[in-house]
């Protein structure tokens, strides 16, 4: 089909812009005939694959990959009371095999604690088996009744990375929580996506966890998107599923656990945080095509130029870069439009003048133009890609820092929330948080805020005036 042209909706109308970019840039097709289920286009799936290859490479330093079944028998699923309460409204149930009703209903995993931990109980025997650090990348399911949105709110989460670790004690598990947060920080830095980490309030923690650390990104309209969580599970699940080990003294001890999840919301963050009025802006770390070469054919030197382009392409590929040449018979402007829409980090033009001058004209996706010598082009291109990455990260950091507002009153808070994440002081009482959330139509995201733009200190509670600590308030997707 012919490519649609014409301007994208403005990014100030984030929903309209996002839906249109998802469609036009070939990320997903939303026309699948079930609400909340979407189809990955090949281009979107290539972006997904590069992103998860990056995530796996970070995890593989310290974890091993595994795979557990999708279907969880009701008998196992129903063992952990808090966990059930958290999920009972949104679990899909398989009740029939063929035409026969099943003896035991099977849940489609909303997350895999109740599939994995009965097996961990078999695997963990001795302190020598610990720590145990496994992860899987799987599809998970939630019966969402809210408004669904590609990559953000789904009934089938197609790409959920869930890590599950087991430790001898609470402190060792807590170190793992910090390790996983560091890993997530590195992952998002590689994607150029600035994050804020905070500890979710108790009423918003993972069902069955001691506490939940959450990773939020800020969207173009100042709303937040939760793009990762690390949970300290303490011994809640190990008690329920009997995950015990023999310690060095021969005594049986309960293990302590963590879990850590990142879904395809990481792709939503890449799209939303970096995108602009021309479409996607992809970090080179995960862009399916990092460099597009556009031959500029004018006059009679077409063959000569195409030969030079082919040589350049194979040189860049040999250097490990993902390169495409766009030799289609159409005007360069239409090609620029296409590759900008798809977020390609660097465009390299090669025409007669460049041939004569032994040079290449490069333009990165933010519009920065550089002329580089033809000699050692691969090294120069890699440098330009690194610089482009720094530029998109800096732009995203600027956006985040300019959308963080510290306020002292509920009125100010309400007003600032229109376009920002808000920093307040809060006494820690649920009643005050409830009141603030109700008056400002927002969520108290967390405390113990970790961000270079936020000072974690003390001050009077924004609601009751009693002594309080720094807390993050936002409107979330």
């Amino acid at each position: 089909m012919a490519e649609e042209t014409g301007a994208l909706p403005s990014r100030t109308d984030f929903s309209a812009w996002y839906n249109e970019v998802i469609r036009r840039a070939d990320i997903m097709d939303v026309r699948y005939p079930v609400k909340g289920l979407y189809v990955w286009y090949p281009f979107g799936f290539a972006l997904r694959n590069h992103t998860y290859t990056l995530l796996r490479s970070l995890l593989n330093r310290d974890h091993e990959e595994t795979l557990f079944p999708l279907l969880i028998p009701e008998t196992e699923f129903m063992k952990e009371a808090e966990h059930i309460k958290g999920f009972e409204d949104e679990v899909y149930w398989v009740t029939h095999g063929g035409l026969s009703p099943l003896d035991v209903k099977l849940a489609l995993r909303p997350t895999s604690e109740t599939a994995i931990y009965p097996m961990y109980a078999l695997w963990v025997r001795s302190h020598a088996d610990l720590p145990l650090k496994l992860y899987q990348v799987v599809n998970t399911f939630r019966y969402e009744t809210k408004h669904t949105r590609p990559l953000i709110r789904l009934r089938e989460i197609t790409s959920f990375m869930e890590s599950h670790t087991v430790h001898t004690d609470w402190d060792d598990a807590n170190k793992q929580v910090e390790y996983e947060l560091g890993l997530a920080t590195e992952f998002y830095r590689d994607l150029g996506v600035p994050i804020i980490i905070s500890r979710r309030p108790d009423w918003d923690k993972f069902p069955g966890a001691d506490f939940t650390m959450a990773i939020d990104a800020v969207m173009p309209d100042g709303r937040t998107l939760q793009i990762g969580t690390v949970h300290h599970l303490g011994d809640h699940f190990s008690t329920t599923y009997n995950i015990t080990y023999e310690d060095v003294n021969g005594e049986q001890k309960l293990a302590s656990q963590t879990c850590f999840g990142i879904s395809e919301r990481c792709i939503a963050a890449i799209i939303a945080v970096h995108g602009d009025d021309k479409g996607l802006v992809l970090p080179a770390t995960v862009a399916p095509t990092q460099v597009v070469i556009i031959p500029i054919i004018v006059g009679k030197r077409g063959d000569e130029i195409m030969a030079a382009v082919e040589k350049l392409e194979s040189e860049l590929k040999a250097a490990g870069l993902r390169v495409k040449t766009d030799a289609r018979d159409m005007r360069p402007g239409a090609k620029y439009y296409h590759w900008e829409l798809h977020g390609v980090p660097l465009r390299v033009e090669l025409g007669p003048r460049d041939l004569d001058n032994n040079q290449l004209v490069c333009a990165n996706r933010l519009g920065v133009k550089t002329t580089i010598p033809r000699e050692n082009a691969a090294d120069s291109v890699k440098r330009l890609l690194d610089e482009a990455h720094d530029q998109i990260l800096e732009k995203a950091e600027d956006h985040l820092s300019s959308h963080l507002k510290t306020v002292k009153t509920v009125d100010e808070c309400n007003q600032s929330l229109e376009e920002n994440i808000v920093i307040v002081h809060w006494c820690g009482e649920k009643a005050c948080a409830d009141k603030l959330e109700e008056l400002t139509n927002s969520s108290l995201l967390g405390t113990g805020v970790r961000s270079k733009y936020v000072v974690d200190d003390e001050g009077p509670c924004i609601v009751c005036g009693k002594p309080g600590k720094t807390a993050l308030v936002g409107r979330s997707y």
Copy 2:
């Protein structure tokens, strides 16, 4: 947990051997509390990942990867009559979301034609959109009532590669069938697994296909395992789902389609075809560890040897090899046992004598020992891995060719089937096939047999004596 030692069951009792190898070599844990669902151990999953990386690299020459939803609405699933008939007894149905019954039941995909083709109907408009060649690697589900077995007969097939192509006409689709068969042949050659291709009889073709080409491997006991299928779908599904295109003359035409599937049975084939009394024998193409280095520490030169081992390891890794050093404090024999069980293609020993002589002692998994010079070790190791691959392929070819028997009578057929695949002549009548299958407790696998060991010719039908053609008969897993 301490590693179990002691002999494996004999391979002549294939089921006992297979189950024990799957467990001891850390492929899968069968103790998950639902029949037919298994857990991948990290080692097994690493083998799975390398195998599917290979498969993807072959597919990516000609196809693009994509991903469609798992859940198929009953309304779409029920459109193709033959297809429904083929699957109605074995589809899992999701009937509830949370506590609420769903308006439209959702099938867990047993295969994805009915999920993908409604979208293809939207995507295909013009001859310029064709051919369309996409694939996905997904989990699929069958409510198996037969005896289940890891990697072979499952309720959740965790790793189903399904390719779905669309073409302007039947002939172009038929060329694609041949292309996919070539691709599967290359894949299995890279795994060292000899295959036989044949055309399944009409009553055994894929529900909704014009015809089915099947790929079979032979197990140690002479039974066959179907490890891939390519289906020519003709216009059955394009009629049902209205996949049409405008041809060069502006006329609307029905498209022609193919699909092609390979499941984790490819891993079962690797294990079953190559394994021996010591455990796994893995082809280097997909072995998670291709080379294990065993330092032989005798006398006082431990530090010197370990330094040499580290240098060797980094040299081999730099050459792109997957290498591990086993420096555990245990006797070399126990290490050999461990790595042989896990099928590592090449063991390299490095002790004081090797240090003095600037050499390395290598043993491949089939027991062939070679001493190589330390200089340019990576090149020599790669050569030894190639030779090892040739050796396991040759061994497997010998097994296949010696388990193919041509017979003339039903009695001979019955007797030969105890340990072999059998070649007969068959008139093509279903009645004769039914009779043969009943009398010999076997399946007529197919005609148009492609194998260098089988002559596809004519002769009297083994049942009725009328003119017939070569057909393959076997007992299948």
